[in-house]
């Protein structure tokens, strides 16, 4: 059984590499039952959106030099 902590690692890895079949299955099963991890997944997905937005924001001449 996947722990929440290990699930966070798999969720992060999935943004950088394709997960193996077993990893995908274990993660999907875990997420069905775990609200906290579902929120974590959504938030690190947002981090990617936010990072792209940030690069644009900085590109418009905002922020520190």
């Amino acid at each position: 059984m996947l722990t929440c902590k290990k699930a966070t690692r798999l969720m992060s890895d999935s943004l950088d590499r394709p997960l193996g079949r077993g990893e995908r299955f274990n993660l999907r099963l875990h997420l069905v039952f775990c609200r906290g991890c579902r929120a974590f997944r959504s938030q690190i997905g947002w981090l990617r959106e936010i990072s792209h937005g940030f690069a644009r924001w900085r590109g418009d001449g905002n922020g520190k030099d």
Binding site: S12, R17, G36, A55
Partner: protein, 194 residues
Amino acid sequence: MTSAAAESISAFRPQMVKFARLQLQDDAAGEDVVQEAIEAALAGIDRFAGRAALKTWVFTILRHKIVDALRERSRTVQVSSLERDDESMDDTFDALFKANEHWRPDSRPRPWGDPHAALEQRQFWEVFEACLEVLPARTGRVFMMREFLGLETDEICSTLSLTTSHCHVILHRARAGLRQCLTQGWFGTEPAAC
């Protein structure tokens, strides 16, 4: 005006302390920057004049103080602190879990309010910038190479002479840290509705 402001500020002082301690990983230093920020806020209360919510304004001052403190610290740190910084981030992350590696009830992630709306606000980008600045240097670099420059993990690893699995560890650490920082610094400290 000043005494009313001081009273309002003292109401969210605990949140400020929590935020500063998280960023600085040091309780005493966290208390110090909060004190400095409050003093600076009260000294400049005339310039504030209701331009933004008092809380947002005070947190902006606090963030500047934190960044100053971190800059000051980076001048004095040893090379070995590279690993110490990573370790302290890992300790912060570990503290979110019970011994069985499941979320502690009080630190289980809860959905963020409205991330779309956050992206429209200048203040939000300043919080994000502060969160990036407090990442340990190498952790921040790897995250930015991946998410700002869009490099593949293999490319990052070979550029920085890291193993693939170490790269994944670093990216996980960066995401977990940024997620927690944004939760504390923005989504969790939204000014309460009147």
